[in-house]
């Protein structure tokens, strides 16, 4: 059966791995919340500092999931893990920041422009792991369990053996991140709507 083998929730002040708190925001720190997690987890990937918030969140949550499931890079070949991500506001936060660079009398920033697409986070995760598998980013009104279940079923039936799925809503006012790993197992937390609703902590959902 298809089982959720690891998951990570990241909110504005807490980071949880498989339901356990692994980091709490230090409001007094000069570092951003995502940098606090990066340092606290002892990650060594300098590209992190160049990423926008969406990519930082996706990178951090995927690294935490790998800590909870350390075998995944050996269990699967480099194109068997599919990435299936979605959010509601695309890359709007970085879009706004890029627009500011040229509307405020300055020049458009190329280093911000390259992050003005929501699927860039998939590229960052693929690069960090040398994963050549399937990628998909959808923009949905709300977290939608049916989207992951339906498209996951398609991917797992056509060559992918594991799914790293994510809901990644990161804006100026919101940090609502939920990543989860789906694998084939004899038993465990079944990959179904009920479990996705429970583990995501979503307060409202969209149907697809």
């Amino acid at each position: 059966m298809k089982v959720i083998t690891a998951y990570c929730n990241l909110s504005a002040d807490e980071c949880l791995l498989n339901g356990d708190v692994v980091a709490r925001r230090d409001a007094g720190s000069e570092d951003s919340w995502f940098k606090q997690i990066y340092r606290q987890q002892g990650l060594g990937y300098p590209k992190f500092y160049k990423m926008d918030g969406l990519s930082q969140a996706g990178y951090l949550a995927s690294e935490l999931i790998k800590k909870a499931s350390p075998g995944i890079s050996n269990t699967y070949t480099d194109d068997e893990i599919a990435l299936v991500f979605a959010n509601a506001s695309s890359s709007a936060e970085t879009d706004r920041r890029f627009m500011q660079t040229y509307e405020a009398g300055g020049s458009p920033s190329p280093s911000l422009f390259v992050y003005t697409l929501p699927n860039i986070v998939l590229g960052e995760i693929a690069i960090a792991n040398k994963w050549y598998g399937e990628n998909m980013f959808a923009v949905l009104p709300k977290f939608a369990p049916g989207f992951y279940l339906d498209y996951g079923q398609i991917l797992l039936g056509s060559g992918s053996r594991a799914l790293l799925c994510g809901w990644l809503e990161v804006t100026a006012n919101t940090t609502d991140v939920f990543l989860f790993l789906v694998e084939e197992r004899e038993s465990g937390t079944e990959f179904n709507t009920e479990n996705l609703l429970h583990l995501s902590q979503a307060t409202s959902v969209a149907t697809f």
Binding site: T116, L117, N119, G123, I127, G133, V139, L140, D150
Partner: protein, 360 residues
């Protein structure tokens, strides 16, 4: 079998597939010099739709394309619970609402066409269109939906133009994919649409077969093409293997061909690695510019017209070989019976996607 048909193209070359085909068959390009539109007031070549102005340009185009599509099918399927609309786009209605680039268009389309489901948006940079056609085919094949309408749409904006200018990626001349003197992209705007269905009888004109393909990431760089073409090689190889199609069966390749030095070089390397370099190949960017999330749908619609009209269309802007590995670029339009076509796309985020279209 998965059918694809009822293709629509809305571009500077016309409001339907037939008008666009007429222009392509005469090798007319939609690219023109726009005065003073660059970040520093430069004149820039763009493929803009004359008459598409004001607010809600994205929504206008999507509705125009879906209206045109609905006239070519059994329109009663649009409101079926087993039908969904997928919208492929990178920046949507950014100029209308930066913070929510898709919701209003999706809600309006659902209301206006009495759809049973809210349209779903797929946004994967420049592979969005090809990826979305594959998603549509997979949804039908898996029985999740009986009919899937794919609409690829992006509109020209200062945002995207200034961004590509900041990367020094905008061509000084109309883009020249695969040419030795190519030096960047020409941005375009447009909308493509097609219906993917398990039921042949819902199409007014005979559909073609969609052979869905795989996507693969380069795992190399977020904004620079792979030096080895690894992701494109993997995508095309898996797409052909999936359907048991050998190289000898491919009649034509509709490449991505943006006109940047590195993208076109990457594609030449990839096609060389999988021994497809000798296949007749073009890029359609010299006619439509780069329409981003619409490109894969518009270009697949053109492929369908090429099959229907038994004609290879020349690669606009190409004069002299400009890649380290040779390609068989189409130099002049040529009547040719086409059975199996390979369409590819590559883009920011390291994405690569491919699909095949086959005549029935």
């Amino acid at each position: 079998m998965i059918y694809i048909g009822a293709e629509v193209i809305v571009s500077p070359l016309g409001d339907n597939a037939e008008a666009n085909w007429q222009a392509l068959s005469e090798n007319r390009s939609g690219i023109a010099l726009a005065q003073g539109v660059g970040f520093n007031g430069e004149d820039i070549h763009l493929a803009k739709i004359t008459g598409l102005r004001g607010p809600l340009r994205f929504q206008q185009l999507v509705i125009k394309a879906l209206s045109a599509l609905s006239r070519q099918i059994d329109a009663s399927i649009l409101s079926s619970g087993k039908t969904i609309v997928l919208i492929s786009s990178t920046k949507g209605a950014l100029d209308d609402n930066l913070h929510d680039q898709f919701s209003e268009t999706c809600a309006s389309v659902m209301h206006q066409f009495n759809l049973a489901h809210l349209p779903m948006v797929i946004s994967n940079a420049c592979i969005s269109g090809v990826l979305t056609l594959n998603v549509a085919g997979n949804m039908v094949e898996a029985g999740q939906y009986d009919h899937v309408v794919v609409i690829g749409c992006d509109v020209a904006s200062d945002f995207v133009l200034y961004g590509f200018q900041s990367l020094f990626a905008v061509s000084g001349q109309p883009c020249a994919p695969f040419d030795a003197a190519r030096n960047g992209i020409t941005l375009g705007e447009g909308c493509g649409a097609a219906l993917i269905s398990s039921t042949k009888s819902v199409f007014q004109n005979a559909p073609l077969e969609l052979l869905t393909g795989a996507s693969a990431n380069d795992a190399n760089h977020i904004s620079g093409p792979s030096r080895t073409g690894e992701g494109l090689v993997r995508s095309v190889s898996r797409t052909m293997q999936k359907h048991g199609i050998g190289n000898e069966e491919i009649d034509f390749i509709c490449a991505h061909g943006t006109g940047t030095v590195f993208n076109d070089e990457m594609e030449a390397i990839a096609f060389d690695r999988i021994a497809l370099s000798d296949k007749p190949l073009n890029s359609l960017k010299g006619y439509f510019g780069h329409t981003l999330g619409a490109a894969g749908v518009i270009e697949t619609a053109v492929c369908m017209q090429m099959v229907r009209n038994s004609m290879l269309i020349k690669s606009a802007g190409y004069r002299n070989a400009g890649t380290s590995r040779p390609l068989n670029i189409i130099l002049e339009n040529e009547p040719k019976r086409l059975r199996t076509i390979l369409k590819t796309a590559s883009g920011f985020g390291g994405g690569n996607a491919s699909l095949m279209i086959r005549d029935l």
